[in-house]
Amino acid sequence: MAHISFENVSKSYSTLNVIRDINLDIHDGEMLILVGPSGCGKSTLLRMIAGLESVSSGAIRIDDRVVNDLDPRDRDIAMVFQSYALYPHKTVLENITFGLRMRRMAGDEILRRAKQASMALGLDAYLDRYPRQLSGGQRQRVAMGRALVREPKAFLFDEPLSNLDAQLRVQMRMEIRALQQKLGVTSVYVTHDQIEAMTMGDKIAVMNRGGIEQIGTPLDIYDRPANEFVATFIGSPMINLLDAEVRGDGRSAVTPGGLVLPTGTAALSPGEKVRIGIRPEHVRLGDDGAPGIVEAVEQTGLDTLVLVRTSGTAMRVLIRERRYMERGQKVLLSLPPADMHVFSSDTGARR
């Protein structure tokens, strides 16, 4: 167990900055999720912790020791790869114990740990099989087992579930989280899947173009996105974003189409250009409010997603129940002031 910290960490290939000035603290036993669109640098950042990528400037510390120039094997971390990276010519047992053999651990200790890990992961029946004889889920478990037996200071996960089908992914998501909490090992988990990010992490760092846009608990980030990027990246279905101009009272804004939106408590100056975000589940269809027309209806069985056109803008509305609606139906939309997110049009930052 360990804490990991980043201090002004950057990485560049000649003129291209792939990681920009990262400051980040991961506490002992915490699970941090690095989430962002592809190419945002999240995998690179993870590989920098592992020592597979060099650091151009700044310092990465594991337990207060700067590890910038430390070889991967001396960092005492274990990593689960997206491809699992299981050695095809070695059996499950040989794969799991490879790291221990390389560290010249005593034979009976290796066996004890392998037994323990394979029990925990339900692999005991497959120890003499080869990776090619296993299903995707079993391979994933072997990759986990290889990390587990090492009993490292930290686990690093690089999109470990992206090769699994949806059902298995949900199951493994819970198992990994449960295991991590049971062992209390500091973990960093990279994903582009915001549901994984929301459900698995103690903390989430949302990344974009090599930098961190926001760090916080999952619900914090969901409820108070620091900027437009975070607001659109986290949350499904996606948040509604409307261009608007603050009205004279400073407490509401109006869209070019004439829709008046409350702006809540943000201190705004009249005439300021803003973008107003409102999550689909916060828009209410009720007895009063702005008139709109239903343009499309999607039923998931559990809830209903409705696309409503009002004052020239399309608005996603999520109703947390099954409701039968039709195209062309007239509805009234109400927008609670407390659920409005106001962002600056210029910088995208939260106002």
């Binding site: 070889d71 990593m79 290889r146």
Partner: protein
Amino acid sequence: MTTGAYPAANRRRTDYGMLYVAPTVLLLILLLYGPAVSGFWQSLFRLDGADAGAFVGLDVYGKVLAEPGFGKVVLSTTLFVVGSVIGTVGLGLAIALYVNSLEEATARILQIGVIIPWAISSVVGALLFRWFYMSDLGLFQGMLRGFGLPAFDPMSTQAGAMTALILSAVWKKLGFAVILLLSGLKAIPHDYYEAARIDGAGAFARFREITVPMLTGPLLISSVVLGIADLNTVELPLIVTGGGPLDSTTTVALSIYQKAFSQYDLQRAITLAIITFLVNIVLVGLYVRSVRGQSE
């Protein structure tokens, strides 16, 4: 997958398929194996002399195998084939590993460098080596003089001639081994090495635990292919050493050539050729097995 697993309709389709390719397969068999079969048939009869045409069965085979020169030919062939295969594959692996660690552009130039000898006609290549070792004017002598070493003609000793012959074979076929092994190296996913680095494996452990086992297929295949080529090459021993001194570099292929075209002893030449053919079949069997092992 066995054909038994196919439903009947599919099996009928396979049968039709066989019918369609049959003419080509027959023609190929005739062209590829016709000469060997006809050669074997002829080797069972007396080819010349007063009783030409008389059936002698496997008599000549017994004689050829029992001749005192035969053991020596087998020995020098084995030395030549094993030596040049080990040399080519060993050096080829070293170069492939080095090239694999280089950047794209540099790697390409080096690759072209090692392929050129392979692309050169083998007679031209062999002549180059003969001139290289030539006793007075050769580059080799010049190099010895340049380093202040005493003059030494490798062709005058048995070990020297064999080494010179093996070196020429290694030089000639190195490019082939490098390309094959390099493509094998490139096929090993980078993740394996990264996982091993994190797992604590040093450079040598990574080579032993990942590179070697994952390169078994290409190593086997290149060894067998090179072995077959070396076994059957006539032009290298013929031109580089001429089989000497004292027949110490006369390989079986050169021996067949000499018997047929210098001594006009077609009877022994054809018998020896059939024996060599059988050895080739064994090597091809090995090749097929290693290719199959590779795809599994």
